[in-house]
């Protein structure tokens, strides 16, 4: 499903964010991506969502090389990848409903079909009763869940999350992780970037560990102190 093939990314000025990264994520797999801040987690997510392009190497989704796609095709790639951002990236002067409906409106949905899907997505994250609220009136955790609802509303086959539990308490983090697991169970591939090692240890999924732009571990994390 998702494949990184000798991917390097260096920024102007010589900073190397990623160095020859190789990994594959199969269809229906759930994977964590971890490392200190600055290790290159966000860069990997940006390469997948085509915000950045790799300096060398290939990023492939479903065996299609993203670097071969034209600028005008980028929007269509982004529709196939649901992304949850650390800073939520919501439209602050639009209601929760409008925010979640945005990907559907972009794809041309209208009327009942759109409302049905938005309600289903909001129901999954438990925010159906807040659909008329503006994002400012919601707590951080609730805003995060609006972001999740927006990412899954058009049922993408691949879901990316950038620090989804960033500033949430453990209780809420666990809830949000359960939401991801639920999507994973219906066949969605999920890639969660986080530096919350405790969370990773508890969940026991395959974990990719980055250090200064290199992949230093791929597999289950040893969980010291847990179990």
């Amino acid at each position: 499903m998702l494949q990184f093939d000798q991917v390097s990314k260096s920024y102007p000025g010589g900073f190397v964010a990623l160095e020859r990264i190789n990994f594959r994520i199969a269809k229906g797999e759930m994977v964590f991506l971890t490392g200190h801040s600055g290790a290159g987690k966000s860069t990997i997510l940006k390469l997948i969502s085509m915000i950045e392009r790799p300096s060398t190497g290939r990023v492939m989704i479903n065996n299609i090389d993203l670097s071969r796609l034209k600028r005008s095709q980028i929007p269509y790639v982004r529709r196939d990848v649901g992304i949850i951002y650390q800073n939520h990236r919501l439209l602050m002067n639009h209601t929760v409903f409008d925010n979640v409906a945005l990907p559907l409106v972009i794809e041309g949905f209208t009327g009942k079909e759109m409302v049905k899907r938005v309600h289903a997505a909001l129901d999954k994250v438990g925010l159906l009763d807040k659909q008329r609220c503006l994002p400012q009136t919601l707590s951080g955790g609730e805003q995060q869940r609006v972001g999740i609802a927006r990412a899954v509303v058009n049922k993408p086959p691949l879901l990316l999350a950038d620090e989804p539990t960033g500033n949430l308490d453990p209780e809420l983090s666990r809830d949000i992780m359960r939401v991801f697991e639920a999507f994973n169970q219906v066949g969605v591939s999920v890639l969660v970037a986080t530096h919350d090692l405790g969370l990773i240890a508890r969940m026991r999924y395959r974990t990719l560990t980055l250090k200064q732009g290199r992949m230093i571990n791929d597999g289950l994390m040893p969980a010291p102190g847990v179990l």
């Binding site: 915000i51 196939d80 990907p103 972009i106």
Partner: protein, 324 residues
């Protein structure tokens, strides 16, 4: 359309929508978009009104000048019909010769009418009009010639000039006089005025284009975050630019309407003054207002400028905004 996952049903187009529904939805969508953009203008009344006012007033000047030219043309058109040719008859011609020439000319298809002013009639008129009444009695004979006043069918300067040259060849005609010069001068003046209007109009229209373009640029910058989010969830450039184009359209509509209202107010204000002038000249001159045609043209032009200005800005600035 899904590029990455060929089996993935994506978008409303993939779900069961028949072509008629899709056709209807296309219009519904655009109308909704237009109404939404109108709402955006309503939410920022200050800057919207400013832009509309600048647009409207910039369009008012060319519109007013156009009406001015139109009215002047109407006046000069009235004068052109009076292009008569005066044939001054040689002293040696007998009254019979004059009469037969008149008959021949009356039969000519190029001539609408012929009027004979005899020496005596001319003298009587001159005596009355000039105020030399008593002095003229000292003349021993009448120095004035017989005159045939010919009204051509074709009153355009070129046609009239040709007829004049033709009539001058008649044997008993001393010379033919066509008072065209002042008419040509008036025509040249009108042409000059017309060209000035075009030049000023072009300048002001480009100003309008730049104003709309700049206003839209500001609103794009204001919505930078929103545009980034839309791009992140997969909006195409066409989708993002649509509301801005509709905003430009509304600027055009309201700017055009404002220009129309201001021009009408200006005409109404001038109407009184013009009526008193034309009554002094005993003329029944009527100031011509904007026709429905011209109003439609003005509105269309304004809308075109609004959309074009918006498009110029959208093309340049939307591309520059990329999420990071």
């Amino acid at each position: 359309m899904s590029i990455l996952f060929s089996s993935r049903a994506s978008g409303a187009k993939a779900s069961r929508v028949n072509p008629i529904q899709r056709f209807v939805m296309f219009f519904v969508h655009h109308i909704r978009q237009a109404v939404f953009s109108l709402g955006e203008l309503w939410r920022t009344p200050g800057s919207s009104l400013m832009t509309i006012a600048v647009l409207g007033l910039s369009l008012t000047l060319p519109t007013t000048l156009h009406l001015l030219v139109k009215n002047v043309q109407q006046i000069s058109g009235g004068f052109a019909k009076a292009a008569e040719i005066n044939l001054f008859i040689r002293d040696t011609a007998t009254p019979q010769q004059v009469q037969s020439l008149k008959t021949i000319l009356e039969a000519d298809s190029q001539i609408a009418g012929v009027r004979h002013i005899s020496k005596e009639a001319a003298m009587a008129e001159f005596r009355e009009a000039s105020g030399f009444g008593a002095a003229l009695n000292y003349l021993t004979d009448n120095p004035l010639p017989d005159v045939l006043v010919v009204l051509p069918v074709h009153t355009e300067p070129a046609a009239a000039r040709q007829l004049q040259q033709q009539l001058e060849k008649e044997r008993i005609v001393e010379f033919a006089k066509l008072d065209l010069e002042w008419l040509q001068r008036l025509d040249a003046l009108v042409l000059l005025l017309q060209q000035a209007v075009v030049a000023i109009g072009l300048l002001l229209l480009s100003a309008v284009l730049l104003i709309v373009s700049n206003t839209i640029r500001l609103s794009i910058i204001n919505k930078r975050d929103e545009i980034e989010v839309m791009k992140l969830v997969g909006a195409t450039d066409a989708f993002i630019q649509r509301p801005f184009l509709y905003t430009g359209l509304w600027f055009g509509v309201f700017g055009g309407l404002l220009a129309f209202l201001v021009t009408e107010a200006l005409l109404w204000w001038l109407r009184g003054a013009i009526a008193s002038i034309s009554s002094l000249y005993q003329s029944d001159f009527q100031l011509q207002a904007m026709s429905l045609h011209e109003f439609g043209g003005l509105l269309l032009l304004a809308i075109l400028l609004g959309v074009m200005g918006s498009y110029l800005s959208v093309r340049r600035h939307l591309r520059a905004i990329e999420p990071s």
